[in-house]
């Protein structure tokens, strides 16, 4: 090796000697403690039923039909919508409203989007529980309400 490279090599290793051992030691001594479980907990209790009380029906409006299902879970009511055939409309948004209307109103509550014949699950807002309501399917692509399906109050009424 020529002399300049030898000198560079020597300087590099003095630098490595000064930097790496401190990095190594600081890295080790700054380790965050990892909690360890010393005693195993008791056997797990059976989980409460995640869902209880279900209601379902097949509803239709013109060419559009879907299987509707509601379930009460520990954190509220869920609505499942499963179109029975492909919803051939672009960018369908699903709303919940007290009244049936030909257009989206400020009182309509957006639940989410839907496409094709996929099963979708939505959370039912608390203010709509135990009310007769309509599930509105609005195509954002053609700016038109494409279907309205009735969701009766019984669907979200706790069983006695």
């Amino acid at each position: 090796m020529i002399r300049s490279l030898r000198k560079r090599h020597q300087r590099i290793f003095w630098l490595v000697f000064l930097v790496l051992p401190p990095v190594f030691i600081v890295g080790l001594f700054n380790r965050e403690p990892i909690p360890t479980v010393q005693v195993f907990p008791e056997a797990l209790q059976p989980l409460p039923k995640a869902f209880s009380q279900t209601w379902e029906t097949i509803a239709e409006d013109g060419d559009f039909s879907a299987l509707l299902k509601t379930q009460q879970s520990s954190n509220g009511w869920k609505l499942q919508v499963k179109p029975l055939k492909e919803a051939a409309f672009p960018d369908v948004l699903v709303y919940l409203a007290i009244e049936k209307s030909p257009d989206i109103t400020p009182q309509s509550l957006l639940l989410g989007g839907m496409s094709g014949a996929q099963l979708r699950q939505f959370h039912i807002p608390q203010q709509m529980v135990e009310h007769d309501a309509y599930i509105l399917f609005y195509s954002l692509g053609i700016k038109k309400m494409v279907a309205s399906l009735r969701l009766p109050a019984v669907a979200t009424k706790p069983r006695r």
Partner: protein, 342 residues
Amino acid sequence: MSNHYQAVGWNRQKKWYDLILAFGVVAYLALFFVMHAVVFPNATVETVLIRGLGTGAFLLLHIILCIGPLCRLNPKFLPLLYNRRHLGVTMFFLATGHAFLAFLQFHMFGDINPFVSIFVSNAEYASISQFPFQPLGLFALIILFLMAATSHDFWLANLSAPVWKGLHMLVYLAYALLIGHVVLGVLQAETSGILAGIVGTGLVIVVGLHLVAAQKEAALDKQALHGSGFVEVCAVEDIPMNRAKIVVLADERIAVFRYEDKVSAVSNVCQHQNGPLGEGKVIDGCITCPWHGYQYRPDDGTSPPPFTEKIPTFNVRIDQGRVLLDPKPNPPGTPTQPALVV
């Protein structure tokens, strides 16, 4: 030594070297997998591979880094140096396997670009112990790639030995990055002291060997002789037959060879990888580099045909059993009159 480029200039030594290397790698991985299956029976195959390839590459890097200083301290280690670049390329492939599997397992299936994920999945850049360790590994891998890609003699010849050596000195930066990668990565979760002890021992060995070898070289350079005209460097008897005495004149090392009844002086720096010619010997009438066997004629510093390498020569005289050297080098390949030993 070859006068044309080929993928690998295979010879018996290289075949044995690579056979032992391949056996060593396979044996290490097999041993690692068996031990891992015993100690961590629930680990997935991907995890075992990531760990096995990573530790294998890191271990091999330590071996590679120790070979250079070991050879400076004891010539018995020179056979390890002969095909060191194959060790380097093997280490790069092991490291790449480790990196690819880690990339696949931890970054590929997220919802952001996996390359971005390496840098942002842990953004604790202000922390010491939680500092993101994966970018350190990535930067080290880029350096290892550059080194593996330019490891062939084609690049050595076209970049020139000093540039090539300078580029390959980046391995020390890669090593520093990898120490950070390991300390800030696996050692943060590893509570037993065994792994930390192994990594720390490796660090002490590598840094210690390099410092000792560098100090030894610096001590030799400090014995530099100065003067104009012919300078007395040693007695003829100080030079073993068919060997050389290395002297430092005019800020560079000169190898003064004694062979037959003659004395000749050439640059100590081999044209191939800047190996120390003065630590070689005269074989078949040619100075032979101890690193890779490159050969030069002592009287004119040229490689025997069909080879074309040339090194500088120096004018030499013998006066009353003392060897005198002109510090001014002749252009590479310049014929000189060997001094005759009476």
